[in-house]
């Protein structure tokens, strides 16, 4: 799972028949730089959300075929919001001792 910042929502007027009641978020996935600067995210992607994440939240996005696992029926999804992140502890290098 990658971390991502939620920046918006998408609604559909026409949809694939397998979708119904979907909640779609526009998010910016974090790159290595984002962990230090809070900026420099990757290009936006759309993720399927069942947890109720809002704009400004940091979320964990599961991608690839695993994104479809939580669904009862086969659903065309390649990015799934699996967690709303409370805290990120990040330390790129081991601190020097002594």
């Amino acid at each position: 799972m990658r971390l991502a910042t939620v920046i918006g929502r998408v609604t559909l007027s026409e949809r694939h028949p397998a979708l119904s009641g979907e909640r779609l978020l526009v998010v910016l996935p974090w790159t290595a730089k984002t962990f230090e600067s809070g900026k420099d995210q990757d290009y936006s992607i759309v993720v399927y959300d069942q947890l109720g994440a809002g704009v400004g939240n940091t979320i964990g996005v599961c991608e690839s075929t695993e994104a479809t696992r939580p669904f009862e029926k086969p659903t065309p999804v390649d990015a799934y919001c699996a967690a709303i992140i409370d805290q990120v502890f990040y330390q790129p290098d081991e601190p020097k001792r002594g």
Partner: protein
């Protein structure tokens, strides 16, 4: 499977129920010369890995679904082993 360094952890209250109780660490994938290669991944840690350890992360979702005891888990990356030594491994 990829080589990676553990650089931190995340905490989450609202999450897919399969992650309850799982350790979620931040793993930075690296290439054969320890250069950063790709975005950090949040990985499931079944081993009790420490900060800054070099590990192998694996994208076999099927094993980690079994580990988390939930066939509906969206988990994908997990820590398969803690690296002792990489012998050779430099590009020619």
């Amino acid at each position: 499977m990829r080589l990676a360094y553990i650089r931190g952890y995340v905490t989450s209250t609202v999450k897919h129920k399969s992650f309850t109780g799982a350790r979620l660490l931040i793993a930075q994938p690296v290439d054969q010369e320890d250069n950063l290669d790709g975005p950090p991944q949040v990985v499931v840690d079944p081993l009790g890995t420490g900060l800054h350890e070099k590990v192998i992360i694996c994208s076999d979702g099927s094993w980690v679904r079994n580990f988390l005891n939930d066939p509906k888990s969206p988990a994908r990356w997990w820590i398969m082993g803690i690296v002792d030594e990489v012998a050779g491994g430099k590009a020619k």
